[in-house]
Subunit: 250 residues, 2 copies
């Protein structure tokens, strides 16, 4: 009995892998958060659909496992990559003591790379991914990670940067990062990356707290090697500096 | 004049996005490292091919821009994601002073998520990506980032963990991480993720230096929430703990 944990990517079929489509097509039952099921209507025809609202993660995964135990082939979909803040880990945990169930993860384009591709190439060197949601991770842990990200001069990609219940979290994160990064650090934000009605912008770290940013926005904060080229953010990998050094040494 | 920086994913066509295929199909010229061009022979028929060996990044991107200036449509391919240790950033830098050239990035499944999907779900919470190659980044910077990753209790994904010229870099990285992480920290490694003849294994951090690992291997090092479930590595997001707390409070 197999449960597929499928990453459908940002939502646009142009960015969904063939394997993700094939695994959904091969399933009798498709389980997911209603908003993400609505992104792939063509793939759901003739399937049993189990949709739940926000915060229904546990119920969703338990329902998926129950369907699998009854002999159905099941796909549990996540937006982006199923293994990055997605449902894959919870499925493994819930199936831990059930040797009949095999969980297989199908990767997808995650929001970090989708957002980065629209901004230019901000993630071209070492980076960290941090979610600012403290529903499952204590805020003290998130603060510790923001501090560490600042110390290491990483480029940061922030998921869940702000919600109605957590209006000031992004501001708090900026406050911590400004201990380590200059006010002029380049940042980018994308809402609904690679879907319709997307919003995209570039600003400096000092202005990031004042930008209109919500839960569906992905924020990328540059490092010392990140600069603005036209409307793009680019983190240099150092090829041109390395070349220059060789030329100067001649 | 457009140059597409295309991420072809790990190499298997099942994990290449439709957009990546379409942008290559739409191009007259395809430019890339020979090893990656060899992964997509079906997509190259009838195209002009510009292939270079390792360390030919600068020559490759300059050739691509020259082809674009001559009026050709050009795709520069990278394995994985074009924006993560790929060619996108260098293309933006080289085209900076040429307003005729537009660089467009097409994201792909990066090695971090491809490797993670085979291991289980090790990247399900905050993580860092670090390359251990010091060809462009000074080793002192890499060490600083490894320290920071340890301090923040991040899951780590390591690219370029070891090469013939850098036999001891992975060992040095483990030495730094062991200041912050226990010997029993779970790790996974995948060579040629999602391609043929792949090798995959799980071990503890204390044993990682002794594992046969090369430049094409991706290594993931867990954090305090990462455990082994069967043959998989799973980093808990905390759903089950959160549920338990609610039940205990009743």
């Amino acid at each position: 009995m197999i449960v597929y944990a499928v990453g459908i990517g940002p939502g646009d079929p142009e960015h969904m892998t063939p394997q993700a489509k094939h695994m959904i097509a091969d399933s009798d039952v498709v389980v997911g958060y209603t908003m993400y099921l609505n992104l792939i209507p063509d793939l759901l025809r003739g399937k049993t659909i189990v949709g739940t609202g926000m915060k229904g993660e546990l119920a969703r995964c338990e329902a998926a496992l129950a369907e699998a135990r009854s002999g159905k082939k099941v796909a549990v979909i996540s937006s982006g990559d199923a293994g990055i803040y997605g449902m894959a880990s919870l499925l493994f945990e819930l199936a831990e003591n059930d040797p009949q169930i095999i969980v297989e993860v199908v990767p997808g384009i995650t929001a970090a790379t989708a957002a980065a591709s629209l901004m230019g190439a901000p993630l071209s060197n070492d980076f960290v991914v941090i979610s600012l949601s403290d529903q499952l991770t204590p805020w003290a842990t998130i603060e510790k990670r923001l501090e560490a990200a600042g110390l290491g001069d990483f480029v940061l990609c922030l998921y869940n940067p702000r919600s109605k219940a957590r209006k000031d979290y992004l501001n708090r994160a900026c406050h911590i990062l400004l201990k380590h990064k200059p006010l002029q650090t380049w940042c980018g934000y994308v809402r609904n990356a690679l879907r319709g009605n997307r919003a995209y912008g570039i600003c400096m770290l000092r202005d990031l707290p004042d930008v209109e940013i919500d839960m569906l926005t992905t924020v990328i904060i540059g490092n010392a090697d990140t600069r603005r080229i036209g409307n793009h953010l680019v983190t240099s990998r150092g090829y041109l500096i390395a070349t220059q050094e060789v030329e100067e040494a001649r």
